[in-house]
């Protein structure tokens, strides 16, 4: 291992060191002072995040198994940032007495998961991809059941682990078929061999379904709502932002590079999937009262939009996906942050419980409104830009009808986002959530997300930066 390899692997190595460091540090902290691990972990992870931003050129390691590009680095930075925000938001939750004994584990597990994602993103062959994927999902099942005293949480965990095991089984079966047809597990080799034969297409569909499961694309999404509802809010946020972000990114990479030759096929598959994903996500989100479940379906819809970008199948497509992910990090985490803050203060996690929130907690309501409007794609918030570029990307391939369908669905989504806004701002309530002060880390995270929501859309330099990264990666 020379210095260069270390630089290429810096995200993963740092995270590993940090995770194991925290794990060890935990051994030396007495039972009654476990809370201090929160601070320690936050500091450690902030350093990890910041160091990740040090620019470096890409390269490959391990004979092509590990591919680091500026784009993957950037994506890892986004994920780090998202996780940092989640950590900031989770302090209140972790400070509760029933969680104090497992504080470090929370951080460690998430960091391990993150390592898995980083490897998945940088994967150059399907073995690394698969192991990264599993590393990114198995511990999450444990985290979903983190509130182990709650039956909902337990249910979430078991549903996630069993279904994810099955889906990875299906995905592996697909990979085996692709291996049979191409004779390799390396992306670069497969890309040369892929052509439209039934075997490959079948393998591809099996593979796609597995990835679709992680991304919760309809009809592989059914676990999403239940797990999101049952898991602790931070984990829900993690699942909906970080897991999904990583999966979306690797989907783009694999589709654009490995399966480029059969794009004719996957574009039409995605076409159908986009429509059902957006529509079903919308139809289910309409009726939800539990805010987490609501955000689950909303995130399904958002993934549908994200696939529009994938359909672009060019650097604009990739850029729009990554850009959207960046925006999505801020937007969704703002929403989850508010949900978390309110839940910690009052235990309310239903939309009907949010009635009259503006009267008592105006700032939180405003952040929530910003987040929801951004999710709905209302200018000048970042979500508008993100969504517009996704549409642009799909339109660049001539899928105008799809854009119309998607945009009309965005209108339906606006309906339910507005329902939340309505609950907070318009509906009267005799007993609204009482006025409370959220923790400082929570405030910081909400502040960062709010700034992100407002600023990222206008910041064309970010977009252009991603474009240059995408060009690097794809050409």
């Amino acid at each position: 291992m020379d210095l260069h390899s270390i630089i290429l692997l810096r995200h993963e190595l740092l995270l590993t060191i940090a995770a194991i460091g925290v794990l060890f540090a935990d051994l030396f902290v007495p039972e009654d002072r476990k809370k201090s691990m929160i601070t320690v972990s936050l500091v450690v992870f902030t350093i990890v995040t910041l160091v990740g931003f040090i620019p470096a050129n890409g390269g490959t390691l391990f004979g092509g198994s590990f591919q680091s590009t500026r784009m993957t680095d950037f994506m890892k930075d986004i994920l780090n940032l998202a996780v940092l925000l989640i950590f900031l938001q989770s302090t209140g939750y972790l400070s509760k007495p029933e969680n104090s004994w497992k504080v470090s584990e929370f951080f460690v597990l998430i960091m391990f998961t993150l390592i898995g994602m980083d490897f998945m993103i940088s994967a150059g062959d399907f073995v690394i991809f698969y192991i990264g994927l599993e590393t990114a999902s198995i511990p999450v099942a444990g985290l979903a059941a983190y509130d182990r005293m709650k039956s909902k949480s337990a249910e979430a965990g078991v549903k996630l682990i069993l279904l994810s095991a099955m889906s990875s089984g299906v995905m592996l079966f697909g990979l085996s078929l692709i291996y049979a047809a191409t004779g390799s597990i390396y992306f670069s080799d497969i890309a040369l061999q892929v052509k439209t034969t039934p075997l490959i297409v079948l393998g591809f569909i099996f593979f796609l379904s597995g990835l679709g499961f992680k991304l919760s694309i309809v009809p592989f999404h059914l676990w999403t709502a239940d797990v999101y509802e049952g898991a602790p809010i931070n984990i829900t946020a993690f699942l909906s932002v970080v897991s999904k972000g990583a999966a979306a990114f690797i989907l783009v990479i694999i589709l654009f590079s490995v399966f480029k030759n059969i794009s004719q096929s996957w574009e039409w598959i995605l076409y159908a999937l986009v429509i059902v994903t957006i529509t079903i996500g919308n139809l289910f989100a309409l009726r939800q009262d539990n805010i987490k479940r609501f955000l689950a379906f909303s995130s399904i819809t958002q993934v549908g939009f994200l696939l529009l970008g994938v359909m672009g199948n060019n650097d604009i497509g990739m850029t729009s996906v990554v850009y959207f992910m960046l925006i999505y990090v801020f937007t969704n985490l703002a929403a989850f942050g508010v949900v978390e803050a309110i839940y910690n203060a009052s235990g309310v996690e239903t939309i009907s419980g949010y009635r009259g929130l503006y009267k008592t907690n105006p700032l939180l309501s405003l952040v929530m409104m910003l987040a929801l409007f951004s999710l709905a794609g209302i200018p000048p918030l970042a979500g508008f830009f993100g969504k517009f570029f996704l549409f642009t990307s799909a339109a660049s391939q001539g899928f105008y009808i799809l854009v119309v369908i998607a945009a009309l669905n965005a209108t339906i989504s606006l309906y339910y986002y507005l329902k939340v806004v309505k609950a907070m701002f318009i509906d009267p309530n005799d007993e609204p959530v009482e006025k409370f002060r959220s923790t400082w880390p929570m405030r910081i995270s909400l502040f960062i997300t709010a700034i992100g929501i407002i600023y990222v859309g206008f910041a064309s330099n970010i977009f252009e930066f991603i474009v240059s990264l995408a060009k690097d990666l794809l050409h």
Binding site: V158, K159, L162, L163, M166, S167, V170, T196, T197, P198, V201, L202, I205, F206, S209, F213, P219, F220, L222, W223, A225, D226, S265, W268, I269, A272, I280, L283, F284, L286, R287, I412
Partner: protein, 639 residues
């Protein structure tokens, strides 16, 4: 060459007066507004007379009376070549109208100082009068059709405002609405007529289109629709507008109701000036009608003839004195239309044209007088109904005498003004269209009958016991009456054909003595009949009415034209169309949009079973979807 540009003040002064009294009138004493208005009108009256003098005796002494555009500015460019100008065009008829309008307006203003004294909204009243005067003057001096249309609308709205002056009286409100809407409907035709004209000729400037030798109508004449040339349709539609303003059948219904307005308003607007705007329009476009669409001109004549007879018949049976006068107005305007309809072009041939204008002129004087006299009576008796009057000659001598003069004038008894003009119309009809001649001839008799029926019932009949003894009106009211009576008695001697003619050349009309005798005798016949029936209280009229039975009733109920209109508006337009549109909009269109939402919600409810919470079902959906997608894709890639 005399500079006529000062004529712009004839328009501007009333406008300014309107603005001032309209905005600040409520703040100061009412009488100030009245005086301001009256003096304003007096000024422009003088200016109009001066203009007439200049035009007829200085500039064009002895004719031909070429039109003069005194002022013109671009108001609105429609296309690159088609611009709407606002301007002042002086030609014989517009100068004549300037005089008529300012005269009657002045009289009305003056008269109103007494008549409207103490009314709430006195300033408003004068503001509206000024507005009307401005609009009417703008109409008569219009240089192009669209300017005319614009002022058509403006006189319409002034008329609306003035009819609805007593806006707290529901009947006044209804009448105002009716007047406006009926004329608006006619204006709709007018506008389309103008557009058809523009479409084919690319011109609506009077100077261009009224040139008898103009070539611009060729395409319009070439295109036909339902057997008539496009130009015919245009002119017919323009006549529709004219008929609306002039209350020709079937647009006449608004005029009797318009009597809800203050009486001086009826005198000014609904007798002398605005209602003849239609006649004026036809006269203005006379060469177009005569040379290019003679059939339409004939139609104008027939509509006029029918209206005049029809209205005269109704006038015989009415008891509201203002309504009698209103129907009389209809009838007289019908005369003017007949005059135009039967007229030919040039010199003696164009007698009808000249006669129509002449009748317009004289009619303005005597009809205004009749109305103001009626106003004076109403002022004294506080009622409009003949049944509540009688024997008034003792109480109101000046009113009585002036009214009698006017009645004689309208009956066509020499030497009063009406005689000359009506006789010339009859002569023209006699020369060119016998049918119309006979219609008008009979109408002349009926006219004399109903006006003297009115006269006798009000001033003779019986000695009614009044709650408050009626007394003669103040001088502010009687002086205008006297002035107008003088005019009614004398203006017949104006050598009108020297000034106004169809081809702008003065001419000397022949006198048809046989016609003169005939027309005077039928007038006297009517007068005598009225004398017989109504001089003293008796029950003969009632018995006659009974004997006529249905016929009388129909006439009394104005041949149910109002009811037909009501049926069309209330039943068809409101109840059928508007209600069904409202229903359709709420239930079908909006229902569809709501339906989309409901269907979405319902679907959402229906498919919730997919999210059953059941682990294994999720797995099944997962696998089944994979298989289905695979099958579909494999089918499509042709495996």
């Amino acid at each position: 060459m005399v500079d006529f540009s000062y004529t712009v003040f004839i328009l501007l002064i009333p406008l300014v007066v309107f603005a001032i009294t309209g905005i600040w009138g409520g703040r100061w004493k009412p009488i100030i507004s009245g005086l301001l208005g009256t003096f304003g009108i007096a000024t422009i009256f003088v200016m109009s007379l001066y203009t007439a003098y200049q035009y007829f005796f200085v500039v064009h002494h002895g004719g031909p009376y070429k039109p003069i555009v005194a002022m013109n500015f671009l108001w609105l460019p429609l296309t690159e070549h088609l611009h709407i100008h606002m301007g002042i065009m002086l030609d014989p008829i517009s100068v004549m109208m300037l005089v008529v309008v300012t005269t009657i307006s002045l009289m009305s203003h003056w008269y109103s100082l007494g008549y409207m004294k103490g009314e709430r909204g006195f300033a408003r009243y004068y503001a509206f009068l000024s507005l009307f005067t401005f609009s009417m003057l703008g109409l008569v001096v219009a240089t192009d059709l669209l300017q005319m249309f614009i002022f058509y609308e403006l006189v319409g709205v002034s008329s609306f405002l003035l009819i609805g002056f007593y806006y707290q009286k529901p009947s006044a409100v209804a009448a105002a609405k009716k007047a406006f809407i009926v004329t608006r409907f006619a204006d709709f035709g007018f506008l389309i007529g103008i557009f058809i004209l523009i479409y084919y000729t690319h011109s609506f400037d009077f100077l261009q289109i009224t040139d008898p030798n103009t070539p611009i109508f060729e395409t319009a004449l070439g295109k036909t629709f339902l057997g008539y040339s496009a130009l015919s349709w245009a002119t017919a539609l323009i006549f529709m507008g004219a008929a609306g303003k002039s209350a020709m059948f079937p647009f006449h219904i608004w005029l009797p109701d318009a009597m809800e307005g203050p009486t001086p308003v009826s005198a000014l607007i609904h007798a002398a000036t605005m209602v003849v705007a239609g006649v004026f329009t036809i006269a203005r476009l006379f060469p177009v009608y005569y040379f290019f669409t003679p059939k339409v001109l004939l139609m104008v004549g027939y509509v006029g003839g029918f209206t005049s007879l029809f209205a005269a018949l109704i006038a015989m049976t009415q008891f509201d004195i203002k309504r009698v006068l209103a129907y009389s107005t209809l009838s007289q305007i019908g005369y003017m239309m007949v005059g135009l309809g039967v007229s030919h072009y040039g010199g003696e041939e164009g007698l009808g044209y000249m006669a129509a204008m002449f009748h317009l002129f004289t009619h303005a004087m005597f009809k205004a007088l009749l109305f103001l006299g009626a106003g004076s009576i109403i002022h004294a008796v506080h009622s409009n109904l003949m049944q509540k009057m009688g024997g008034l000659r003792k109480y109101m001598p000046i009113t009585h005498i002036t009214f009698l003069i006017a009645a004689l004038a309208i009956s066509g008894i020499p030497p009063f003004a009406g005689f000359f003009s009506k006789d010339e119309i009859l002569a023209a009809a006699f020369l060119h269209n016998r049918l119309l001649f006979w219609v008008e001839y009979i109408t002349a008799g009926i006219t004399a009958f109903y006006i003297f029926r009115l006269y006798f019932k009000v001033f003779w009949w019986k000695d009614t016991q009044y709650e408050h003894t009626p007394h003669e009106s103040p001088w502010t009211m009687t002086v205008p009456l006297i002035i107008l009576a003088t005019l009614s008695a004398t203006v017949g001697f104006v050598p009108f054909s020297k000034f106004v003619s169809s081809d702008l050349m003065p001419f000397e009309p022949e006198t048809h003595w046989n016609l003169v005798i005939a027309s005077v005798s039928i007038g006297l016949l009517g007068l005598a009949l009225a004398w017989l029936l109504y001089r003293k209280e008796n029950d003969l009229p009632d018995r006659i009415a009974k004997a006529l039975g249905k016929l009388y009733k129909w006439t009394y109920d104005k041949f149910y034209i109002d009811e037909i209109y009501l049926f069309i508006t209330k039943k068809i337009m409101f109840n059928i169309i508007a209600k069904s549109v409202a229903w359709f909009d709420r239930h079908i269109v909006d229902g569809f949009m709501e339906g989309v939402a409901v269907v979405t919600e319902k679907t959402s409810e229906k498919i919730k079973g997919f999210q059953s919470g059941h682990l294994q079902q999720y797995a099944f959906v997962f696998i089944a979807s994979v298989i289905i997608i695979a099958l579909t894709v494999l089918y499509f890639i042709g495996a």
